[in-house]
């Protein structure tokens, strides 16, 4: 094989390695990559690195969110169609790639853009309303204000592989104790174990790699929905 041929193969292989790793190359491409890998140590090294990255990017299947809350919300959005706010008269910016797409796709992209603007306006309105009173939704997220007893200060989610002793160490470090949880979604409700301020505990928690999420519980005196 000439140097030029090798260089072309090398560039092609280098670019295709991610899809060699995820098993989505077609057969001729896969064979070509295989052939080059036999002769190129740099590509073999890169293959090993990408395999490692791929393994680490596959999500933790033990931690999953249920679609029920989102579905309720979608129903709420579907019902009052006529209350949708008019999109602001901003022309969607044309993406450079739109010239290469069939025309209907361009129309779709533009309408998606308009929808996105309309929805963000709607979201902003809903958000500002929610600032004034408790959210009207009957779903709840980890940061939604819900009634809670005094002392509950933080909601947190830990990595699924955390051990009991690690959990104890994390809580001790942040001077917190568990008062409820875990919920379906793996959320723990924590309370202060000492007189440390919430901000301080929150900072300690967030410094821990085993803490996926930690948020202060916002008080909502007039919230009526239940957990």
């Amino acid at each position: 094989m000439s140097d030029t041929e090798h260089a072309v193969d090398h560039e092609e292989t280098w670019d295709l390695l991610p899809w060699y790793v995820n098993g989505r190359l077609d057969e001729p491409e896969r064979q070509r990559v295989d052939g080059h890998l036999h002769t190129c140590a740099a590509c073999r090294n890169e293959l090993a690195a990408q395999r490692q990255l791929y393994e680490l990017m596959i999500p933790d299947s033990t931690f999953e969110h249920l679609p029920t809350a989102g579905l309720k919300r979608l129903r709420q959005h579907l019902a009052p169609q006529d209350t949708m706010i008019e999109p602001s008269p901003v022309a969607p910016t044309r993406r450079p790639s739109s010239a290469r797409r069939p025309p209907w796709q361009g129309v779709m992209a533009a309408s998606v853009a308009v929808m996105a603007i309309a929805l963000s306006v709607l979201a902003a309105v809903l958000w500002s309303q929610s600032q004034r009173r408790a959210p009207p939704a009957d779903y709840y997220t980890v940061t939604t204000a819900t009634p809670h007893t005094a002392g509950e200060v933080i909601r947190a989610v830990f990595v699924s592989t955390i051990t009991l002793s690690e959990l104890q160490a994390v809580l001790e470090d942040a001077q917190l104790k568990i008062v409820a949880g875990p919920t379906e979604a793996g959320v723990y409700t924590l309370a202060a174990a000492t007189s440390q301020p919430t901000d301080w505990s929150l900072q300690r928690l967030r410094r821990q790699p085993a803490v996926r999420f930690a948020e202060e519980i916002v008080s909502a005196p007039d919230a009526t929905h239940t957990r």
Binding site: A42, H65, L71, V112, M115
Partner: protein, 190 residues
Amino acid sequence: MSQEHDIDLLNSVARGDSQALEELYLAYHRRLARFLSRIAPRYETVEEIINDTFMVVWQRAQDFRGASRVSTWIIGIAYRIALKSLRGNDGLLRAQSDDELREQFVEPMQETELRDLVARALSYLPLEQRLTMELAYNLGHSIEEIAAITGCPIGTVKARMFHARERLRRTLPLLGGVHESELANHIRSR
């Protein structure tokens, strides 16, 4: 889930059948949540993007021409909404230099720690590169599928992946399979 069943559902959605929309929602929620969970700053944002995606599916179902698979079409809508909705978060963290970043990545011990390091390193990538990487490694899409989802030529898909890999190699020494001198040979301008 079969393509025929998806098309049937989408046709029903086009006729205003909200039950069919809910069925599609349930069929795709998991995949979309998986796609977005590492990219969105919090889970509420993931739900918002999925919700917005299905509002668009509801409005535009009659525009689906069958030029791509239904899954590609739906994930493509989610991709565009994610780009718009997450654009503001992009770039904030990238102001840090690679050296500063590298210092944060101390010797990892456990897989969970490695995963967290990878998640952080990914968060420093430009949004299009992150989304492309998630489409390939998290959802397992082919080059052609990613091109259809993102509405980009195949060359752009490969280039985004190439640049994402280069950047990750600099911020994640654990991926340092390639020696510096070899690396220099691979860096080319596009």
